[in-house]
């Protein structure tokens, strides 16, 4: 199908190819191995041998630390209180988490941040992708330019946004006052509601390009003849978007959702620099609270338990999405 389309639309092939390839490699990683893997075949055994070192490395760098963290989370281990020792406390740390209002607050903040920023990024990213998918002069330049925010390190971007939203000298207030929307400069980081504005704007600004590129790659796999046929039948552009583009873009959208939800759920550096979790703790996400427990209060047991909880949540989300993606991928593949 891809080959046929290439034959039909020769223009711009050079710029499109890498994007298509990168997408198909993502899919390849997520696909479940072919059922024809018979263990008795000598090639299979050899293949397993070849994979073994990689699996060993994964076990060493991923599974071992994870197991260690789980073990640690079953202990009371407070680096600053050595007189308590490191007694085994079973699930005490988890029980404490269940009764910790600051944790539940942090979880709610994380969910709010994830929902708002990912939806905005998805909508804006789709608009950008549709725009970039049209043939126009300088298209490759635009695609590179769009990537700039994504390329800027998060801490630098966060500092940039902190200056923009500085109450006294920031551009945001200058513009709002000049336009007449507000009379007095807003002290953004002092109110719980306004502190979210720079946080979410910064995240949307930074990651929309990533979303747009993933969706663009998805758009390019859609057969142009479908649109031609729809146009012949007199379908409007809106109808085409709803009935052709969005359904066929589903795998790409799911991919975006996986990456962005998991990333947003673990948000740390952006908020650490922008608000530090304040005012009070009203923008504190779970990752920042965990950092606080682990590295500032040096409560290794409790911090480990918090890490395990975050891991469980993100892992659960990933499983849900992958199941969704598997289904979507199968449909398109047929």
């Amino acid at each position: 199908m891809r080959d046929a389309r290439r034959g039909m639309r020769g223009a711009g092939r050079g710029t499109r190819e890498p994007l298509v390839n990168s997408r198909s490699s993502h899919k390849g990683q997520l696909r479940i191995p072919h059922p024809a893997s018979r263990s008795s075949h000598p090639d299979t055994r050899f293949a397993r041998l070849l994979v073994a070192p990689a699996l060993l490395v994964i076990a060493l760098v991923a599974i071992f630390p994870l197991g260690w963290t789980v073990w640690e989370s079953l202990h009371r281990h407070d680096l600053r209180l050595p007189w308590l020792g490191t007694p085994f406390v079973g699930l005490d740390n988890y029980a404490r988490i269940a009764h910790d209002p600051r944790f539940w607050g942090a979880l709610a903040h994380t969910a709010f941040f994830t929902a708002v920023s990912v939806s905005l990024e998805l909508v804006l990213g789709l608009i950008f992708a549709l725009a970039m998918n049209r043939a126009f002069r300088g298209r490759s330049l635009v695609r590179v330019a769009v990537l700039v925010p994504w390329a800027i390190p998060t801490v630098v971007a966060a500092l940039l946004w902190r200056f923009i939203f500085d109450a006294q000298a920031g551009i945001a207030n200058a513009v709002l006052v000049d336009v007449g929307l507000v009379q007095h400069p807003i002290v953004w980081f002092v109110h719980a509601a306004t502190a979210w504005v720079p946080v979410i704007l910064a995240d949307v600004w930074k990651t929309t390009p990533f979303v747009a590129l993933l969706l663009l790659a998805g758009l390019q796999t859609i057969d142009a003849s479908l649109y031609e046929a729809a146009a012949v039948d007199g379908a409007s552009a809106w109808w085409q978007l709803r009935r052709i583009t969005i359904p066929l873009l589903e795998p790409a959208i799911l991919l975006v959702l996986i990456f962005r939800t998991l990333d947003a759920f673990r948000v740390f550096d952006l908020i650490y620099v922008l608000t530090g979790g304040g005012p009070g703790t009203s923008t504190e996400p779970v990752a920042l609270y965990t950092f606080n427990a682990l590295l500032q209060n040096l409560q290794f047991g409790y911090g480990a338990a918090l890490s395990v909880v975050i891991f469980a949540i993100t892992f659960g989300l990933a499983l849900l999405y992958i199941r969704g993606l598997g289904a979507g991928g199968a449909e398109v593949g047929q």
């Binding site: 600053r80 209180l81 050595p82 007189w83 109450a167 719980a192 304040g278 009070g280 703790t281």
Partner: protein, 439 residues
């Protein structure tokens, strides 16, 4: 790789190893390591004084191990090292609020066996370094909170809390007045606690009492926090921006002529007096925070201490280095180089100190006399974190001062209970900590 090239590399590496081995063998002198602030003027003066110590004691090698200048990061690093029982650094520069924590954990040596003369130093600084009767660190330099005020806008420093507000308003409305009445450190970090400690003392409150009980929700404390909030929302003398400001932002505001009052540490004085960068050079003075009826003028005590790692292999040499660095001559030299205040009482009668320090000496002495240490408890940093959040919630209007302080007290008591700390810190210490000296 060509054989010849590989041979050369092997040769070079073995030569390096041989040189390193010879070097290690040729120098059998004991090595002690100092770790602390090693950047800027503080780093320069420490390196200079350590070099001089080595020429005076040719039998010892002293190494300087840089550690992060950011207090929180250095704390984290030190705790990790000491947990691993490493023997170096031997001499640690501690922030004044860490001594009880390190002492209770058994990470630093009690110093009484070296017979330091406690009365040579400011009592508040000694109190901050004493844990269960034993002295664990020698005060190196002190920092105290000062109230900077504009001499061109005000006749004299305020003498009461009401006058503080009245003067702030007067300074704002005077011709050529400042935009802000008063600025202080109000972001959610340790600086907020130091600001709060000064208001708290001014109203007669405390964070913890002499028995180690949490009393941060006393009526006096609620009045103090309400006063801070009212400065922002009721009298509009403090801009809400202070709730995001650290020391430097307040200094910029004051330096640009935008504030009538500023709460800050002594470091700001020489910068504000530098007409090349400051618009208020020669138009400001310092004083201590005034007090309300029932309270007393209070300045938060900051500063640095020198302590010995319990696992040091050369505790005697380490103490020699501490003695040298905290001797009057070195303190004077340091005051000259960095503006850090000496901790020795007698030096304040020394005309050389008056010449060395930018701040008038009687103001300094007055401020230090009112210095109050933050709670002396092994879990101070944790308590501080809990209190910071609640103070910030009250000041940003998310809770009333009373509710926030009750919540803070409840959480702080819970943390103390979890740590096993009873009255006067009973129970919260390593079994062998404070048992005396390692033989």
């Amino acid at each position: 790789m060509p054989r010849a090239r590989r041979g050369r590399i092997v040769g070079a590496v073995s030569l390096l190893i041989a040189v390193a081995a010879c070097h290690a063998r040729s120098d059998t002198r004991p090595v002690i390591t100092y770790s602390g602030s090693a950047v800027g003027s503080q780093g320069e003066i420490v390196r200079k004084q350590i070099a001089r110590f080595m020429t005076l004691h040719p039998g010892v090698v002293v190494k300087v191990q840089s550690s992060p200048d950011d207090a929180t990061q250095r704390h984290q690093l030190f705790v990790q090292w000491l947990n691993a029982h490493v023997g170096d650094p031997d001499v640690l520069e501690l922030d004044v609020i860490w001594t009880p924590e390190f002492a209770a954990a058994g990470w630093i040596l009690p110093l009484d066996r070296f017979v330091p003369v406690r009365t040579d130093f400011f009592p508040a600084a000694i109190a901050a370094n004493t844990w269960r009767g034993a002295l664990y660190a020698i005060p190196w330099y002190v920092g105290v909170g000062l109230l900077y005020w504009r001499t061109d806008l005000l006749p004299h420093a305020p003498t009461s809390m009401d006058q503080l507000v009245a003067f702030a308003e007067r300074g704002m409305h005077a011709p050529g007045g400042a935009r802000f009445g008063i600025v202080w450190q109000g972001a959610r970090y340790e600086g907020l606690i130091t600001t709060f400690v000064e208001y708290l003392g001014a109203f007669g409150g405390e964070i913890m009492d002499a028995e180690g009980r949490v009393v941060v929700d006393s009526p006096q404390a609620i009045r103090a926090l309400t006063f801070m909030r009212d400065e922002i929302t009721r009298w509009h003398v403090a801009p809400p921006d202070v709730l995001t400001w650290h020391e430097e932002q307040t200094r910029f505001a004051f330096q640009n002529g935008n504030a009538v009052f500023m709460r800050n540490w002594p470091y700001a004085y020489s910068l504000l007096d530098d007409s090349a960068q400051s618009r208020v050079a020669g138009r400001f003075a310092v004083s201590t925070m005034p007090a309300a009826p029932g309270g007393k003028p209070t300045t938060a005590l900051g500063g640095a201490e020198l302590a010995i790692n319990r696992y040091s292999e050369h505790p005697d040499l380490a103490y020699q280095l501490i003695t040298y660095l905290t001797a009057p001559a070195q303190m004077l030299e340091r005051a000259q180089a960095t503006g850090d205040y000496p901790t020795r009482v007698a030096l304040y009668d020394d005309p050389r100190l008056a010449r060395a320090l930018p701040v008038p000496l009687h103001d300094v002495r007055d401020a230090i006399a009112h210095a109050v240490p933050r709670p002396v408890t092994p879990i101070y940093t944790q308590l501080s974190g809990l209190l910071q959040v609640q103070l910030h919630r009250a000041l940003t209007g998310q809770a009333t001062p009373a509710d926030a302080l009750h919540e803070a007290a409840r959480e702080m008591e819970g943390a103390l209970r979890d740590a096993g700390c009873g009255m006067r810190g009973a129970g919260c210490a390593a079994p062998d900590a404070g048992r005396g000296n390692r033989s």
